[in-house]
């Protein structure tokens, strides 16, 4: 257990995981829709406030997992309930807990029927999402990873748009089919170690044979690449995004997609370093393909949600690019970009949801020229769009810049090939902005109300983060330095052993 710094006092991570679940159980007995709304807001807010102590208590000088908890769960298989946070997962957990109250707020009027089950689904989602990022036992991770599918499926399938059935089933099947081999890989890893263990940190830095690493990496990659989603595994994403209710889209874009890239960082790199190095060139080019493909496809969209969904494919391409260049700047940029994408794309989906609540359409053509009637709204939209295209001064600029620095240090051709993606992002975001703000007055809608206080409160924190990370990223980068350095050490020592092995007869 030397990798884990056990938590003294209150088991903070368990509280963060189980508070929403308890809240969901209590919500079952809530009498009316409005009380369950308020209740969900209270629970998610308490969780968000509690999670701040995660940041304040975090020790940036160690790569070890902090706030650790370790309880035996299934002794017959040596499966434990092990939790811990390091510099890689800390910001993701914080983002999850901070975004959830705004998901509740965004659903305040959007969800009109069956509010109580909706809120219960949201709360269960939060439990499994925080759990996935905090789990340090592979079985615990897998249970939470899969359990998440059910509430997310219901969020899309019940409260979704016209093609919700197709979108929800596609989402479920894709994700599940991707992760069945993950389960086999987990068991194979368990058996490959002596003594057998499901502890994720204990599985890292072991000497596995090349073939074994490649197979395990393949299983990991399939599961995580679908979740990210990387080109060409992305086809479930636009469907799911378009049909999901606003809160569902925000959760999908901000948090669920990050689980794929988190999986790469947490499992692929440290557990199978040799396979990572061997397969790196292919994955880099897949990332570039995703960046360009996402950009071009977004440029052609008429549906705003689809546009943002395809832009996500491009942005997540940058994230995987940064991870697999295996440079400090690249990985730190990727981690920061994961947060940025969560903030910016989440906010953009909220914006589209607010238009949809007013015009009941997500078509760009029906939203043209609403800038005149909604000045406050388009101010927000403009800043989020600028952030999405990585305008200097906003958060995404820092992330993409770091990723590109890392990429150029690694491979100039790959990095050069990704550059047009940044231009494409400007093209499709400005196209959307131009239509919405100055798109002429042929809009049949007569009067559209501007944002109310609740909606401004929903969007404002996102804007704060856009500029905070954009102008002063140090507090965010500081927490990840040690863990990222340790991660790269693990990859390098794994490959150093490879080099020695090839020299020896």
């Amino acid at each position: 257990m030397d990798f884990l710094i056990l938590n003294e006092g209150m088991p903070l991570l368990s509280v963060l995981i189980f508070l929403p679940l308890v809240g969901a159980l209590i919500a079952l007995f809530m009498p009316s829709d409005s009380t369950s709304r308020i209740w969900a807001l209270i629970v998610t807010s308490i969780n968000a406030v509690l999670s701040f102590s995660l940041y304040s208590g975090f020790d940036v000088s160690t790569y070890k997992y902090q706030f650790g908890e370790h309880v035996s769960w299934i002794p017959a298989w040596d499966i434990n309930y092990t939790l811990g946070v390091d510099g890689i997962s800390l910001l993701l957990i914080l983002m999850t807990t901070l975004i959830m109250p705004f998901c509740v707020l965004a659903s305040w009027r959007y969800i009109e029927k069956r509010v109580k089950p909706f809120m219960i689904c949201l709360l269960i989602m939060e439990t499994s999402m925080v759990g996935v990022f905090a789990a340090l036992d592979f079985v615990l991770f897998y249970v939470l990873w899969e359990a998440m599918l059910i509430p997310m499926y219901l969020l899309i399938a019940i409260w979704g748009g016209p093609r919700k059935v197709y979108a929800s089933i596609k989402f479920f099947l894709y994700t599940l089919a991707g992760s069945v081999m993950l389960l086999v890989a987990i068991i194979a890893l368990y058996l490959a170690n002596a003594p057998h263990t499901f502890s994720i940190p204990a599985l890292m830095g072991q000497q596995y044979s090349t073939l074994f690493q490649l197979l395990v990496f393949g299983a990991f990659f399939l599961a995580f690449a679908i979740k990210v989603p990387m080109f060409p595994f992305h086809t479930w994403l636009p469907a799911a995004h378009v049909e999901a209710p606003t809160a569902g889209s925000v959760i999908l874009a901000s948090i669920l997609l990050k689980m794929g890239t988190y999986g790469f960082l947490r499992f692929c790199l440290p557990i199978t370093p040799e396979a990572t190095i061997r397969l790196m060139p292919y994955i880099l080019w897949l990332s570039v393909a995703g960046i360009l493909y996402g950009g071009f496809t977004a440029l052609a969209q008429k549906d705003m949600k689809k546009l943002i969904a395809y832009s996500s494919v491009g942005h997540m391409g940058f994230v995987t690019l940064g991870i697999f260049v295996l440079k400090t700047q690249g990985i730190e940029g990727s981690l920061l970009q994961m947060i940025n994408h969560g903030v910016t794309t989440g906010a953009l989906f909220l914006c589209v949801g607010m238009i949809y609540e007013r015009t009941h359409s997500r078509e760009l053509s029906t939203a043209t020229g609403i800038g005149k009637q909604m000045p406050v709204f388009v101010t927000f939209l403009a800043f989020f769009s600028l952030s999405s295209l990585a305008f200097p001064g906003t958060n995404s600029f820092v992330g993409e810049f770091l990723i590109l620095v890392g990429s150029f240090a690694k491979n100039k051709i790959v990095a050069g090939a990704a550059i047009p993606g940044a231009i494409l992002a400007a093209a499709y975001m400005l196209r959307m902005l131009q239509k919405i703000i100055w798109g002429g007055t042929n809009n049949p809608q007569i009067t559209i109300a501007d944002l109310n206080t609740r909606e401004i409160v929903t969007l404002a924190p996102f804007l704060v983060f856009v500029f905070w990370i954009g102008l002063s990223p140090a507090p965010f980068l500081d927490v990840m330095h040690t863990s990222v350095a340790h991660l790269l050490d693990q990859v390098n020592s794994g490959t150093a052993a490879l080099a020695v092995a090839t020299i020896l007869p």
Partner: protein, 473 residues
Amino acid sequence: MKLMLFAPELLLLLGSLLIFLFSLTDEDGRNAKNTAIAVAVGTAILIFSGLNNNGDLFLGAYRVDLFSQLFKLMISLGVTAVLIFGRELKDITDDIRPEYYLFLLLSALGLMMLVSSIELITLFVALELSSFSLYILVPMRSDQKGLRSQMEAGIKYILFGVTATGIMLYGMSYLFGLTGTTYLVDMLPRLTGLIGEPAAIAGIAMLMCGFLFKLAVFPFHFWVPDVYQGASNETTAFIASVPKLGAVAILIRIVMMAAPEGTALINMMVVLAICSMFYGNLSALVQTDIKRMLGFSGIAHAGYVLLGLMTFKELGYATSMYYIFGYLVMNLACFLVICKVSKSGENVNVKDLTGLHKRSPVLAFTMAVGMLALAGIPPFVGFMGKFMLLAGALKAGQLTLVILAAINTAIAIYYYLSVVKVTYCDNPDGHADLHVDFATKALSVILVIAIIVMGALPTQVLAIATSAVQSIM
């Protein structure tokens, strides 16, 4: 007190005799129903209170130990559940209801005796008591449409069943010839030297046939779809869940005889498991009758159970037990919904579940949990069982089998999910609301909680299953 060892079975027997008396008088089955429920509950309580009983009966042919008591407990709980949610017996005419309860209890009695039998003839008698009662239950369905599909199902069931039993008897004769005894306890040491012999392997394999038939493993599955479809919903609920417990119990006992060096037997089980999983899941994909679909899914699940048996390890057997207990609970949850959705006892199509979430939220939730649990999604019991089976099989070196089983999980999710889809995504359009009585509601909540708790906290169940397996090793 040797009598106390046999008390649960005696209670069931006396209850059956009482119901037999009711069947002689002219009554509508209400007394028979209440008696049956009371007897089933009483049996469950008796078994639970004597869970740690130990002892031999009937010249050593009948053994009561933790292993048998555990299975008996699950059998009696399963029967109780079926009696409670199926107590309307919508598709059984009033005049034969006492007989229906009589044979249902006798079948349960046969199963309970089966799991305690450690002598081949006793085993055979117990199995036949249970099977013949079931053969009679199937055609008891009233002939609403005049198609006589229940008769077809009954005939198929008995023909396939008798054939499987015949093969089993033939296998028994081999084992008797080789060892000169019908007692499993004596047979075990005498077989150790012979286990590599083709005759011994053939004998054990054929002996297994009778129980593979009950479990509906691949080449013995032909009865499943038609019997599930032809029998009334309540009967199918019973056939689909409870007899499989008995089959797994005896299969564990048989497989133990072949351990640790039955390579041929392992290979046989691997092939059967793969065939069952693929056949069951691929066929289930295209079913519209939900009972048929669950039948095919049951074939696939039988394949999963073999994964635990073929490890020849204590933990493997325990995992199989855990899985079949979980399967019982998941299956009962699904059949509870089927029995309640069916208005007058007719078969339920997937379409009939349309908009169930509005017509009856409790039933819809139970159905969704049952289906997703069968599909093996965490945190439900189906996932934990499947996970441990896969881990055990991989530990035994069966990588191909494990990968194929994992692929099957992905195939299966589609048809389970499509049921969840119609219950939750569609509007009722025209389908009437359903009234669910309190007992059924309570039972569904209990089943759902059991599915979740067994899945999230499997340690206790696994520990008691392990010590049960140890008690017979």
